[in-house]
């Protein structure tokens, strides 16, 4: 490997899909957890309906699907601490950071754009 390869790569997961109704959020979370093992500079951006994955009080019992909202709580333990939420997406859905199950940093759209441009790998789900 060249020297350049040894600098941690910036990897951002962009979570856009709601947590239920399709498997993207769940299988995306599995990729996020695996990425922690690679000691890279990992961040997770929640935007659009992707934000609902972090909403408090989810109950999947009537769906017959195992809920996975609690799993977001382990991200910190995996050293994935850069969790971002797009301010506009949050406001459009009438939510505030207090409605979310984990601590997030709320970013202005321009900042979201800027951070996406800095990434080596951008993986949307």
């Amino acid at each position: 490997m060249s020297e350049e390869d040894q600098i941690p790569a910036k990897i951002m997961f962009v979570m856009r899909k709601p947590p239920h109704g399709s498997i993207y959020a769940y299988e995306g979370l599995e990729v996020i957890l695996i990425s922690a093992a690679y000691e890279q500079d990992v961040s997770v951006m929640f935007m659009g309906d992707g934000i609902y994955a972090l909403k408090k009080g989810q109950d999947t019992s009537e769906l017959g699907i195992k809920g996975f909202a609690k799993t977001y709580g382990v991200l910190e333990g995996y050293d994935i601490e850069k969790i971002y939420v797009d301010r506009i997406s949050l406001e459009e859905r009438g939510l505030t950071p207090d409605d979310l199950i984990i601590d997030v940093e709320v970013l202005e759209p321009a900042k979201v754009n800027e951070m996406m441009n800095e990434q080596h790998v951008l993986m949307p789900f």
């Binding site: 990425s35 690679y38 080596h120």
Partner: protein
């Protein structure tokens, strides 16, 4: 440029698998390198050798096999494959089943990761 191609959708239902293939083919023709192709979510269904479309339609699995047999590393995510009934018994030639770590590995060792989804 060195590319990784990340496919999230199955064959036929969405255009993603076609676009990914067209991208791979065009990149190779232009002299770029494909670091690997990784199938995830319903994308793993691209790998079943039981695929048997009408004769006048394109055969999506065979196109991937051709790329795999040219030496391109084509990886099917094991966790996604198990959910969807893809296993060694029905895996098409020219591909391999492996873990999600391969996707991260491919991403960080490529210049660009191209995602094809819905």
């Amino acid at each position: 440029m060195k590319y990784t191609i990340f496919v999230q959708e199955g064959p036929y239902n969405h255009e993603a698998a076609d676009s990914a293939y067209n991208f791979a083919k065009a990149a190779l023709e232009k002299g770029h390198e494909i670091r690997g192709i990784f199938f995830y979510n319903d994308g793993v269904i691209n790998s079943t050798k039981l695929m048997d479309p009408p004769q006048d339609d394109r055969h999506i699995q065979k196109r991937w096999t051709e790329l795999g047999e040219k030496g391109i590393d084509i990886v099917i995510c094991i966790a996604a494959a198990k959910r969807r009934g893809i296993a060694d018994e029905n895996l098409a030639p020219g591909m391999r089943i492996s873990g999600l770590g391969q996707l991260i590995e491919m991403g960080i060792t490529s210049d660009r990761l191209m995602t094809f989804g819905s």
